[in-house]
Every structure is written in C-alpha cells, then in structure tokens.
Amino acid sequence: MADNLEKLTDEELAALALSDEAAFKLIISRYKDRLFYYLKRLTLLSSDDLDDILQQVFIKIYYNLNGFDSSLKFSSWAYRIAHNEAMNYFRKNKVKTEDLDKAVLADDLSDLEADMDRHLESETVKLVLAELDHKYREVLSLKYFAEKNYQEISDILAKPMGTVATLVNRAKKQFQDKYKIYAGKN
C-alpha cells in the first residue's frame, strides 16, 4: 500500500489525503524539509519556533485540501500556504523584517548550502543574502534554493509574473551591489 502511494503525484496524494491518513502523512514527509528551509530563510527564526509554524502550515494544508485547485501545482499551493503563515507570524508578533537577526540566517544557511554548488557556499554569499531586504531574499530563495520558475513563484507569492520578474531583477541587483562591497572589504 505504502509503495503504491509513493508512486502517486503530489496532486493525486492531495485528493486521496481527504480520506486516507497515510496519503497525508506522505505529503508531510515529502514537504517537511523543503518548507522548513523555506520558512527558515524567510523568517530567520530558530528551529524550535519554526517547528510550530511548520505544524500550523500542514494543519492548514489539511484544513484547506478541498480548496486546492488542480490548475495550480500542489507544491506552489503548499508554498503559498507556508508564505501566508510566515506573513501571519510577522503580523501577529509585529516583527519588522529589518529587525530580524541576520546572523541567524547566515548560520542556518550553512546547513542548507551543504549540498549547493560551491558558489553558494561562500561565506560572503551567506552574509550578503542575510543583508538583503526580506522580499528580495524570498524571491532569490525561491528561485535559486527551491528552484522554482517564475510561474511557480508567481503562484506562491500571488503576484503577477511581471512583478516577480522585476523583484528577481532588483534582488539580483541588490545582491550584486552588496556582494561587491563585501568582496571589496575582504
């Protein structure tokens, strides 16, 4: 049975998860790491705090399963719920993204970037990413870490594709500017 489930796509699992606990468990296991690191990069919170948010994200996914529209990729839908939950957390706790501890991000990126190419592993890149505005960090994180295309990022952030493209370009520009400053210092 478990083997059969493994073969199913996310979208098929989502349809099955309404009545099958094992299917929903499999969705969690497929997405827990991806969403955990996405939330980590987005919120810069500690792992303990993130666990609570992540649980909330999966509960919301379950609660809204009937609202999943197959015109969207399941992963985009799940990331969007995670994005919204992170924004709710910011609002509830009145967190200004500028106040976030950038050092936490730099540390946390170390875990994540272990498997990334060498370019992304450099200390400078980590520091520069931590320095970026939250909205720019998020699009770069989705594009280069989560490897989402523009359409998927558009669906996750609920922003038009043109806006996403602009955000990515500005994010790259800000990254390059800050990178030059850091590179110059070292």
């Binding site: 929903f24 969690i28 827990k32 609660y63 399963l65 529209d69 038009p160």
Partner: protein, 257 residues
C-alpha cells in the same frame, strides 16, 4: 528535529477534530468574490448614469447668470461627486478581484479596461432607461444638502444672481409664494414668466425660477422650470417625448417633479 513531525501533526488534527472545509464553501467563496466585484461594477455604472444625467439635463443655457465663462461654469458644475464615487466603486471592484485566489493572474491594464468598459456600457444603458433621472430627482427632492454635492442644483439657491428655487406654499392667479431651501418665503411675480410645460404650479411642488429680486423677498420671474430633471416618472428625457401636459401622454401631475 523533524523525525516525528508527521505523527505530531496527525495527532494534533485528531485531538482538535479538524476536518477539511467543504468543497462547496470554497465554491461559494469564489462566487462571492465575483458577485461582490460585479456588484461594485454595477454601482460604478449607476454613478456613470448619474454623471451623464447631470451633464445631459444640466441648465447649461443659463451659465452667464453664474459665470461669464462657459468653461469656468462647466468646471463649477461638473459632477465630481459621482465621478469620485465611480472611481471608488471601480477601485473596490478591482481590489476585490485582484485579492481573490487567482486575481494576480489578470493583467492590471486589461482588468481596468474591461471594468471601465463594462461599467460605461451599463451606465449608458441605465441612464437611457431613466434610472439616472429617477435617482437624481429622488435625491434632489429628499435631501436638502444634495445641492452641496451637485452644484447644478446648488446654484439655484442664488437669488442675487437671479436663480431661485423652492417649494410652492401659496398659489394665486399670476403670483405665488415659495419657500426656499433655507426656509425663507418669497413672493413671486409670474406676469412676465414663461412656464415650462413640465411644470405644475400647485402647492407642495418644487420649482426653479430665473429672474431678479425686485424688493426684499420679492422675485420677478422670467422663467419657471421644473425642479425635476427630464420627465422621471414617465421615463422620458424631454417634455415633448414624454407628452407632459398633452392629452393622451403621461399626466401633468406625474411629470416634472
């Protein structure tokens, strides 16, 4: 760290007895967004109908009594209130749809353009059907402050400039008394006045007068006009098309007020 998260989540769902929301709830929510957005477009269309009505039935012919310059007069009497309301309703409609689940997929320009065209076409149809006149007359009859937001009405409270309006409180052969909207009673001489066919000179009716002050609280009228715009009750734009005052047409008592 994350090993047991699946079990934790499943047990939380069971403990809190969380059930997925019904499919119909999501369908109704989507329908609600479209209906609300559509309702704002209809309200925008009503504003357009009002805007057209004010401009179409405005008393532009007497602009010299208010201002020598026609352009200045148009700027003075332009129905900004309805234009503002139109922009507000259209913005609400746009905002509601853009904030919907897939609203971000629609291009802003096309969304604005389609909302604009839809409300404009509907507004023209509603105006043609007489809705603008009905609302305009209702507001003018029932809200004393309406002249403040529609200067095409408000300018008739200007006896020094020869424009007077009010409710008839006494009628005699060639004279009548009217109470203006500030409560002042005026004796009106109608001897040299041309009375519009849509006007009914009877107690309680509201009229507009063009003329001049000849003594304190005495006004000599050159022209008597209907307070209502168009012929709202029989849904016709002019007295001739309405048949006001003519036999067989809509009765004089239902026209002009």
């Amino acid at each position: 760290m994350l090993e047991k998260i699946e079990d934790q989540i499943i047990s939380k769902i069971k403990i809190k007895k969380i059930k997925p929301l019904a499919k119909t709830w999501f369908s109704l929510r989507r329908l609600g967004v479209w209906l609300l957005s559509g309702a704002f477009i209809v309200l925008g269309a009503v504003s357009i109908a009002m805007l057209i009505t004010v401009l179409r039935f405005g008393d532009f012919d007497i602009y010299r009594l208010v201002n020598q310059n026609l352009l200045v007069f148009v700027i003075l009497v332009f129905p900004y209130f309805w234009l503002l309301l139109y922009i507000v309703f259209l913005s609400f409609s746009f905002w509601k749809l853009r904030r919907s689940q897939y609203g971000y997929r629609y291009q802003k320009v096309w969304l604005w353009l389609s909302f604009f065209l839809a409300s404009l076409v509907l507004g023209v149809v509603l105006e043609g059907a007489g809705l603008g006149r009905s609302i305009e007359n209702y507001l003018a009859d029932n809200f004393s402050g309406y002249g403040k937001i529609n200067y095409m009405r408000g300018m008739w409270d200007n006896p020094e400039k020869g424009l007077l309006s009010g409710e008839i409180v006494l009628v005699s052969e060639n004279n009548l008394e009217i109470k203006d909207f500030s409560g002042q009673v005026w004796q009106v001489d109608l001897n040299a006045a041309q009375v519009d066919s849509m006007v009914q000179l009877s107690l309680g009716k509201k009229i507009k007068l063009v003329g001049e002050i000849v003594a304190p609280n005495k006004f000599k009228a050159r022209e008597v006009r209907s307070w209502g715009c168009g012929c709202a009750h029989c849904q016709a734009a002019t007295s001739s098309s309405c048949g006001c005052g003519e036999s067989g047409g809509c009765s004089a008592t239902s026209c002009g007020q």
